[in-house]
Symmetry: C2
Subunit: 257 residues, 2 copies
């Protein structure tokens, strides 16, 4: 480890990522979170415990790094409004190229590969931060920010980051929607969805230890047509039948049955 | 806790469930695993460290409980071959009614809600055992078997068990196939699939703490058409495009966008 001076930081945005980063950087010793800026005065309120809140970007104080944590679509507009030409400007988007910020002298990406809701407490030491910057010194500054949260950093270019974000959409967004179906199935028969938790934890553990293809089990993998028929008949909702059919078809094909 | 006498046990089957149960019961103090029976002499070999291995069901020694841990389709045939009319006969299937065993005097179900591969080490205290039996004493015996593994038991009827198994197929089988796609996406862009592990762990934690509907995030949930278009264009495999489309459609509909 080496010493770095305290990094002066501003965050633009009032969503879940902005909230978690503001909360965490407020507590980090190596970072001084000077301000959080956002257009919506109401959403800004919850940031009061962490930093000065600014409804106008023009009032941003001089800082070392400005993190833009807004929706992908809003990044270009926000970026264009930043007149500070000394700070390193970084966005937190998984699927947006670093080049969207190339009107600035110093720019980069600080993408935490995690799912954020205001209510969940996060363990930062577990979160991989995907970092990209044109200048080596700026890359090191962003690594320093991640270190200040005790998080791990990875050098990931825009192309790779796009792939990770897409993989995250599959695993988290689609995987979670499957759990919504699983919960519905449990509720229809008055059986606790919580009973599935150890199975789902083991599913993740196994997929990342032996790989998801080696971890695959179930009727479709085995080509067990009797169970498949029985389960299709037991399903009540058309949406569930559709998901069951398409995955069963995909699995039968993938494992050549 | 109360004392019970040692339960004398035999297991029929040589698959993953049979293997894990044999290994665990061999180590359990309150259980004496007397024999493992199976037709295939070669697959029986790995059971040698745990109990006598029997290629013929006729040689089963007298026991208190016989666990049938074979494929769903083979249960009726195996059940018909068991001539012991004193033992409690239980199967381990999620989607098979307890009634398949009703030619016996005493019968039940001992279904561990978990995914089994020969290579994974299981923490039994985390596994919910779904138990069903006609007679209260038999129910208690099966609870005793689960307790001997330090596992939790739940009284679950055949209908509820079918729902749990179906929910497990969604969560584990389909969820794991989604991870196969996520891994492929990562590999195509030469970025480590392992980076997704903390996200997937958090996905499970969040879905079971606030519920999967409240936990849903992502472009489709937000109705973020720009990101959806961009991601669809970035996908290379037709199978991935198909999964992306069907989940995006389902999510847009489910969250009324």
């Amino acid at each position: 480890m080496y010493f770095w001076s305290v990094i002066k930081l501003a965050i633009i945005g009032t969503g879940n990522v902005a909230f978690h980063l503001a909360q965490a950087f407020h507590q980090a010793e190596a970072v001084h979170l000077k301000a959080v800026a956002g257009r919506n005065a109401e959403s800004l309120k919850i940031f009061k415990p962490f930093a000065y809140i600014l409804p106008d970007l023009k009032d941003l104080p001089p800082v070392d790094v400005i993190i833009i944590a807004v929706s992908d679509a809003a990044i270009p507009e926000i970026s264009a409004k930043i007149k500070d030409n000394k700070a390193l400007i970084a966005h937190t988007s998984g699927s947006t190229s670093v080049e969207v910020l190339n009107t600035h002298k110093r720019f980069g990406v600080f993408y935490p590969l995690q799912t954020f809701s205001k209510s969940n407490e996060l363990i930062y030491s577990d979160i991989p931060f995907c970092i990209e910057a044109k200048l080596k010194a700026d890359f090191e500054t962003l690594v320093g920010l991640a270190s200040a949260l005790k998080a791990k950093s990875y050098s990931i270019n825009s192309d790779q980051r796009g792939a990770l974000h897409l993989a995250a959409v599959f695993g988290n967004n689609f995987g979670n929607h499957i759990l919504t179906q699983a919960q519905q199935i449990c509720e229809e028969r008055h059986v606790s969805f919580d009973l599935l938790k150890p199975l789902m934890e083991e599913t993740i553990r196994k997929a990342f230890s032996i790989g998801p293809e080696a971890a695959q089990t179930g009727p479709a993998k085995r080509g067990d047509v009797i169970t498949i028929e029985k389960q299709l008949n037991a399903l009540q909702s058309p949406e569930q039948k559709k998901i069951y059919n398409s995955f069963t078809e995909a699995l039968l094909k993938h494992y050549e049955r």
